[in-house]
């Protein structure tokens, strides 16, 4: 599923040579001399932070999933997203000479650019699936179009990501159907989860002045809404779920206004790194 960690090259030589670094960044990031402009870097932060925050949430499921197959599946999705986050944050960092880890571990909350939907807690499995269903469908539409970006690095990252996100979309779709049409309890939980997450959908598709400055490079969020609605409609119809009506959260993640959840998430993620400034791991 993920190329971020390449395990295939490892031979069984249990008692021999041990010092190997098996994880490398994707080739386009190492070879390309490309340095992001400040606006492109800001846009890469938007997307990178979404992937990072969501991956961090999914990582917390591993060893706690409802069945072993889901420990593996949610782990796979999380790993793919960490891969996307690393590529995007690495690229964002080229503008200010910072590394992916400088950006992940040494920024505080107001400097994060994540959407509120990815910050929403795991909740029960239905909440995780509802969040995943919404975000994966959005990311699929986004990366499908970002492949054609005039920025070669963003286009390369998107070309790889879109294949992985396609699987994430399928995984969450299957679970939406199972939970909505499984038992009375699972249906009740699926309906609750969808209505808890829906207020955060609107923010995903909101435009920002940054997008106007990145014509041909960034994907205009509002332009994705029709495709998103068209993709989820048949799934919701088959699941006999209605689109929830009610609150629309004000959002603001792209300008550094975050939900109450993000600070806790960052505190946990950054605790060890920040206890050892300057250390390498």
């Amino acid at each position: 599923m993920t190329d971020a960690v390449n395990k295939d090259s490892i031979e069984v030589d249990a008692h021999g040579h041990v010092a190997v670094d098996v994880t490398t960044l994707d080739a386009e990031l190492i070879e390309g001399p490309s340095v992001a402009t400040p606006d492109v870097a800001e846009y890469a932060l938007w997307l990178g932070d979404d992937s990072l925050v969501l991956a961090q949430q999914l990582g917390a499921w591993i060893s706690r999933a409802p069945e072993l197959e889901e420990d593996v599946a949610l782990g796979n999705v999380g790993l793919d997203l960490i891969g996307h986050a690393r590529s995007l944050l690495h690229y964002a960092g080229t503008a200010t000479d910072r590394t992916e880890d400088d950006l992940a571990y040494w920024r505080t909350e107001p400097d994060f650019r994540s959407l509120h939907i990815v910050e929403q807690p795991n909740g029960d499995f239905a909440h995780t699936i509802a969040r995943q269903f919404i975000v994966s469908h959005y990311l699929f539409e986004l990366h499908s179009r970002l492949r054609a970006s005039a920025d070669a690095t963003l286009a390369a990252i998107a070309a790889k990501a879109v294949k992985e996100v396609d699987y994430h979309r399928d995984h969450s779709t299957q679970w939406v159907l199972r939970l909505a049409q499984g038992t009375d309890e699972s249906r009740r939980r699926m309906i609750t989860a969808l209505s808890d997450l829906w207020p955060y959908v609107e923010e995903i598709f909101r435009d920002d002045p940054l997008i106007d400055r990145l014509e041909g490079i960034a994907v205009r969020p509002s332009s994705l809404r029709p495709a998103f609605d068209a993709a989820i409609a048949p799934v919701l119809a088959e699941a006999e779920l209605e689109i929830p009506r009610g609150f629309v959260a004000s959002g603001g993640g792209r300008t550094g206004k975050h939900s109450e959840h993000l600070a806790f998430l960052l505190a946990e993620m950054q605790v060890l790194t920040r206890a050892h400034p300057g250390a390498s791991w």
Binding site: V12, S63, L272, T273
Partner: protein, 328 residues
């Protein structure tokens, strides 16, 4: 298979055609496959060993998953997620291998969460520091590899084949552990202390993973005769220590055994006395984290029950719908 006689394993005299075939396969170092006849004791012994191994992979996810959300770099986070996810995968292949012997996953899971099944007691130790991700890889996975490489040749086919795949991944796990410690040992004073402290805590428990000394290992002799197991506990432990000593020197860590010395005569590293009282205490459920590990597994199982029920109900409805369509 020509004979239909049910073999009576308690009969001391003539052995059946099937049993002779089984013995010949073992003798010829061939593989026994699920449909072959096998003595009940062989089947039981394998189910016990394979399910314990599967449980160990599953419980073994916990001490490491503790650090996924706090991994100190994104690269480390990705590697650790991949590793813990591999362990879930290993658990899955092993449960499948045990299922070919007639065990069911539900029964095995129930035995685990009821506290009736054993798993490797090493996972009852806590992981208070990041360096423990290094020590688990280097020492615990290292010990596991020494135990498991010979199992790739185990006489039971599905087990041997599962072990080939598992060993490849364990080798990657051991390397990443070594690399974590190497990075720490080349880091700040605090990082070096973190690494040494962790090695001090994991070294002896890792040596105990090979099981009790040969003269005190009740199941070993039969398992070796059946070629499920190929080397004795003490032999494997010795091989492991011989491998560790030069690696510890590369890392710059001390192994916490003041009596460890090179024996010119045997060309091996002689180790000090192992404290088997601690081993038996942890095995008896009085280790630091036994209760916590089982509780977490039970919670995941209980909290996930509604999800599994939903999936089963949905699959049932789907197949009923397909049948209905076919009938029309």
């Amino acid at each position: 298979m020509t004979s239909t006689i049910t073999p009576d394993t308690s009969a001391p005299v003539a052995i059946s055609v099937e049993e002779q075939q089984f013995n010949d396969l073992i003798e010829a170092d061939s593989r026994i496959e699920p449909r072959d006849w096998m003595p009940e004791g062989y089947r039981k012994s394998l189910v016990r060993q394979i399910s314990q191994h599967a449980h160990s992979e599953i419980i073994g996810m916990q001490p490491e998953s503790n650090w996924i959300t706090r991994a100190p770099s994104l690269k480390r986070k990705a590697i650790l997620m991949a590793k813990v996810q591999d362990e879930a995968g290993h658990g899955l292949y092993l449960y499948s291998a045990a299922q070919t012997l007639g065990a069911t996953r539900d029964d095995m899971t129930d035995a685990l969460i009821a506290g009736k099944a054993r798993y490797s007691s090493i996972f009852n130790y806590p992981t208070p520091s990041w360096a423990d991700m290094g020590s688990i890889g280097w020492l615990v996975d290292g010990a596991a590899i020494c135990n498991q490489v010979p199992l790739c040749r185990a006489s039971y086919g599905p087990y041997g084949r599962a072990m080939v795949r598992i060993c490849k991944e364990e080798s990657f796990h051991q390397r990443q552990g070594f690399e974590i410690l190497l990075e720490l040992m080349q880091g700040t004073e605090e990082q070096r202390q973190m690494a040494q402290d962790s090695v001090n805590r994991w070294y002896w428990p890792a040596l105990m993973m090979f099981g009790p000394p040969d003269d005190d290992s009740p199941n070993s002799a039969q398992s070796m005769a059946w070629k499920i197991k190929r080397h004795s506990n003490d032999e494997l432990r010795q091989r492991f220590v011989n491998m560790l000593v030069p690696q510890a020197a590369v890392l710059g860590v001390t192994l916490p055994d003041p009596d460890l010395h090179f024996n010119e005569e045997t060309q091996q590293w002689d180790l000090g006395e192992i404290d088997w009282t601690e081993f038996h205490e942890v095995l008896a459920g009085r280790g630091p984290n036994n209760a916590q590990r089982l509780q977490r597994r039970r919670d995941a199982h209980d909290e996930g029950a509604w999800v599994r029920e939903a999936a089963a109900a949905y699959a049932h409805k789907q197949s009923a719908r397909t049948e209905e369509m076919a009938a029309k």
